[in-house]
Symmetry: C2
Subunit: 170 residues, 2 copies
């Protein structure tokens, strides 16, 4: 049990909570971060939301020609949700959804040339945003945090798989 400083400005933390376990603290921190990240991130771009930007980034990482489900898996959401999100993204003209002629089940996510202009438009502001977000965090800190999060994510995937196997057995 260690000392905990809960990250809130306008909420007084009762002293009996100093003993929260680090694991739960990390947990709450990740949840609150994800929640607030959406709010803040939606202010970075005019045309698209923060989640749409992350789907766009993911699709670009997975080029060439990822399917809807591949992007969904990369982002960590269901294919149903990703499809809806990608349809909205397609409406902005940044991507194009195309049936794969080689496998009629798949829908491919293709980036359009509009992405280049989009990227140029936000190059400065997005890198400024990243600089602000990672201010005072060194490369060493980052690398250390990355190791822990990698392990955490791997463990989560393991749990996820054991759950879906259980359900498959019913």
């Amino acid at each position: 049990m260690k000392q905990v400083n809960l990250p809130t400005d306008n909420i007084r933390i009762p002293s009996d909570l100093r003993d929260i376990e680090d694991r739960y603290y990390l947990f709450g921190m990740l949840t609150a971060f994800a929640n607030r990240m959406q709010t803040v991130g939606d202010n970075v771009f005019e045309e698209i939301t923060w989640k749409q930007w992350f789907a766009l980034l993911s699709a670009s990482i997975l080029q060439p020609n990822p399917s809807v489900s591949q992007v969904a898996d990369f982002v960590g959401t269901s294919h149903q949700n990703m499809k809806q999100l990608l349809l909205r993204l397609q409406a902005t003209g940044l991507i194009r959804l195309e049936k794969d002629k080689a496998d009629l089940r798949r829908t491919l996510v293709k980036l359009t040339p509009a992405v280049e202009a989009f990227e140029q438009k936000y190059q400065q502001s997005s890198s400024h945003f990243m600089d602000s977000l990672f201010e005072e965090i060194t490369d060493e800190d980052l690398a250390a945090a990355r190791l822990v999060l990698d392990q955490l994510y791997q463990n989560l995937r393991t749990i996820e798989k054991s759950i879906s196997q259980q359900e498959g057995n019913i």
Copy 2:
């Protein structure tokens, strides 16, 4: 630091995640983790969702008598959203929403005695879940990751405030 370029149709994409800048990697990891955490977490409890559990935990941390907005701020969501979530939580009987007689604007979040039985019911499975999630992560790792996430969260709050100030000036 490597440059991240959002690709157009004719730009080659790094196929390996290790080529991505650490900051973007951490970013994507946090997002994917939060997404998958909801899916996995919803399997931990029968009666309530993962988000509802986190709201319940937050309300218990903020006792005595936090308001809806205080819980919302702690969790990192809007008060409108938190109110809806707490209404569903109230329907399960674990909390009670009450007008504050001393300040008629506020709605207080009170835990009911049912929480105790709830905690007992899930004591084993939830601690087993935590053990699985943090497997092979040492206390030192945890502490290191926590320092980074604390700084990251603090930076995010700073950006959040500068945004709301900008909007206030319009």
